[in-house]
């Protein structure tokens, strides 16, 4: 059994005695998505970054299609990371699909989590009666085709290499070739699991204090979906960002960080 550190390419920084902040990346890329946000919390917190199995520099051999056939498998990983690193009182920050992975993890092990920050969450991407997720099944198939076309250049011998060059805004050349790329069959499977999941019924069970960060113009998670998450969760508030798109952690790190500051650094609001 490979250690969780290697399986998930865990990287820790900040104050090791501080309250843990666990950052989870969304579908498509890896922990580097937090590169402009996570360091802002190193002054006070124990910052923990990881890659989901199948993404980034995780152990691809640990990818088990059965285990990862629903988001629960990913949520179990999050709980396992907390348990093995002995993280308590965790502030979980999840982007995109990892927002719901965090909700499922908090439902499974509520005692581990102090707060949830959900960036661009969507409990269900497909449209349903009285619910606008934003997509039809045809749209999702179209996206899978798009994935397929763009993985033509992927090669299994391409060794992903991780480096740190904080002095440069761009990633180094070594990573350029591997960022946002992984084994096509894994990417396809993760895409299906992500975009066909429906976790709307899981929201009301999670009473952990939650902050929803919602972008103004996000085709993947529209404002109405962010509001749905806020309304269904017992103790959630929402901040509407001016940032557009689905990745404010990348396109608007200042605004994203500022929106998180008070919620993350302040003491948890009293539960009603």
């Amino acid at each position: 059994m490979v250690s969780v550190g290697i399986r998930h390419n865990i990287n820790q920084s900040g104050r090791l005695d501080g309250q843990p902040m666990l950052f989870a990346h969304g579908f498509g890329c890896d922990q580097h998505m937090w590169r402009y946000v996570a360091p802002r919390f190193e002054d006070e917190f124990r910052v923990v970054l990881f890659d989901h199995v199948g993404a980034g520099n995780s152990d691809l051999s640990a990818y088990d299609p059965q285990r990862y056939s629903s988001l629960s498998g990913y949520a179990e990983d999050v709980v396992a990371i907390c348990t093995e690193l002995e993280l308590r009182d965790v502030i979980f920050v999840g982007h995109s699909v990892s927002a719901m992975i965090g909700v499922l993890a908090a439902a499974a092990a509520p005692e581990l989590f102090a707060k949830l920050v959900l960036v661009g969450p969507s409990p269900c991407y497909l449209n349903d009666t009285d619910y606008v997720g934003g997509f039809s099944v045809e749209d999702i198939n179209d996206m899978l085709d798009s994935l397929e076309s763009n993985y033509l250049g992927w090669s299994s011998v391409m060794a992903p290499a991780i480096m740190g060059r904080p002095d440069r805004p761009e990633l180094g050349d070594e990573l350029t070739e591997s960022f946002c790329r992984t084994d096509p069959s894994i990417a396809r499977h993760f895409a299906r699991v992500t975009f066909l999941s429906d976790n709307r019924d899981d929201l009301s069970a999670v009473a952990t204090p939650t902050l929803v960060l919602q972008c103004a113009n996000d085709v993947i998670a529209p404002v109405s979906v962010g509001e749905f998450v806020r309304d269904r969760m017992p103790d959630a508030s929402m901040v509407l960002l001016n940032a557009t798109g689905h990745c404010p952690n990348l396109s608007a790190p200042d605004e994203t960080t500022a929106a998180m500051e008070q919620f993350v650094r302040g003491s948890a609001p009293v539960r009603r």
Binding site: G26, F27, G28, C29, H32, M33, R35, S96, F135, D139, I140, N141, D142, M143, L144, D145, S146, L147, E148, S149, N150, L152, G153, P169, E170, L171, L175, T176, F179, C180, F195, D218, V219, I220, T244, G245, H246, C247, L250, S251
Partner: protein
């Protein structure tokens, strides 16, 4: 190419000659877009308008680049393309479908760079858009071919696995008054059928036969010969009671069969009479079985004989021996002794040592040999492995 493609190209060449920057931009053989960091279009060239059928006024300051993509493309844009641009400052050869003004789709390949200001903040994204209709059609054909190849590989593996299972008895062998254990470990990932086989069957009251063999080579042809060897032995040993004669029959069958494949077999007949087991063994080019007696002594049984399927009248011998309570007999294929770690063979000595020190049980001895040999090869067997162990219980 659009209807005016030829004309546009002529205009571009003219601009090249005259070094006319405006024309070089507008009539470039690819679409050009400049957008704000959030994707809002601020400048496009004529080629892009020709490709998509939009008017300049419909796009500038009104539409984000991602809004011109198919829905699937938009998801890819948000989850991959925008992060790549933001993190590495460029994206190359990204396949998108543009939705034209008339709602038709245009497959394109896109290259983009992100220009940054002096402080490193994003300033403008410059994007080149190439018509990729023919290339994408070709790639789709490649993808379909790849999917067909993968399906066919999966079928071949399933077939090989099924075939593999027919080379050994369907259930673990059982002989009354004996402990029998067997292990069969085909080499590789199971995509190919190997040539090792074993069989345990009854031919009369208190009369049993054990066969362990190895057909040279792998693949379908080897599997056909393996199956032939198995059922030939089953028939021949009933007609001829001596193992050597049954092996000679198999030799004839192989010589008349249209195959160049030869094989090695050890054939053992076991008879139970008056509470005792008597064995007759014949070895055709095969490693001789190892006998561990209850007092701990270890020796081979049988006399070496010729392999089968090569010469007309191979020299084969029958050797009789007794199996007493506590005795263990080990039959195996050369996948054990010829297992290699680097240039070192596992060999007869290591096998003898493993047999000598194993616990007094057919199951335990079988799994001890198997795990030691697999470990010796660091888990990856280079050849098929068969081990059959027979032990006379101490009553």
């Amino acid at each position: 190419m659009t209807a005016s493609g030829g004309e546009a190209l002529d205009a571009f060449y003219e601009a090249l000659r005259d070094d006319d920057a405006d024309q070089l931009y507008d009539r470039a053989p690819c679409g050009y877009l400049s957008t704000a960091p959030d994707g809002m279009i601020i400048k496009v060239n004529q080629t892009f308008l020709d490709l998509t059928g939009y008017q300049r006024g419909q796009l500038i300051g009104r539409v984000r680049f991602s809004q011109l993509l198919s829905v699937g493309g938009r998801i890819y844009y948000e989850t991959h393309y925008a992060p790549m641009l933001g993190m590495q400052g460029h994206a190359h050869e990204i396949a998108f479908d543009l939705v034209r003004a008339d709602k038709s789709r245009l497959p394109v390949l896109v290259n983009a760079v992100l220009e940054r200001d002096a402080r490193g903040g994003p300033l403008v994204i410059r994007t080149a858009v190439f018509d990729a209709r023919l290339r994408r059609e070709y790639e789709r054909e490649l993808l379909r071919a790849k999917q067909r190849a993968e399906e066919s590989e999966a079928r071949a593996k399933a077939l090989a696995k099924t075939l593999q299972q027919t080379l050994i008895p369907p259930a673990p062998p059982v002989i009354p008054h004996l402990d029998v254990a067997a292990a069969y470990r085909p080499t590789g990932d199971g995509s190919e059928v190997g040539g090792d086989f074993y069989d345990v069957f009854q031919i009369g009251t208190n009369d049993w036969v054990v066969a362990v063999g190895d057909v040279c080579g792998k693949g379908v042809e080897a599997a056909v010969v393996t199956a032939l060897a198995r059922y030939t032995l089953r028939a021949a040993i009933i007609e001829h009671s001596e193992p050597s004669t049954a092996l000679a029959t198999l030799n004839d069958v192989l010589l008349h069969h249209h195959t160049n494949r030869f094989c090695t077999v050890v054939l053992l007949r076991l008879r139970h009479a008056e509470g005792e087991w008597a064995g007759t063994v014949s070895c055709a080019g095969h490693p001789r079985p190892l006998l561990r007696q209850s007092n701990g002594t270890l020796h081979t049984v049988g006399k070496p004989g010729a392999l089968l399927g090569v010469v007309d009248s191979p020299h084969l011998h029958d050797v009789q021996f007794r199996l007493l309570p506590g005795d263990m007999l080990v039959l195996y294929t050369d996948g054990i002794t010829e297992a290699r770690s680097g240039k070192v063979f596992y060999g007869d000595d290591k096998l003898a040592a493993a047999v000598a020190r194993a616990p007094d049980s057919a199951d335990a001895l079988t799994s001890a040999i198997l795990s030691e040999v697999l470990e010796f090869q660091t888990g990856r067997a280079r050849d098929d492995i068969v081990v059959v162990v027979i032990r006379v219980p101490v009553s």
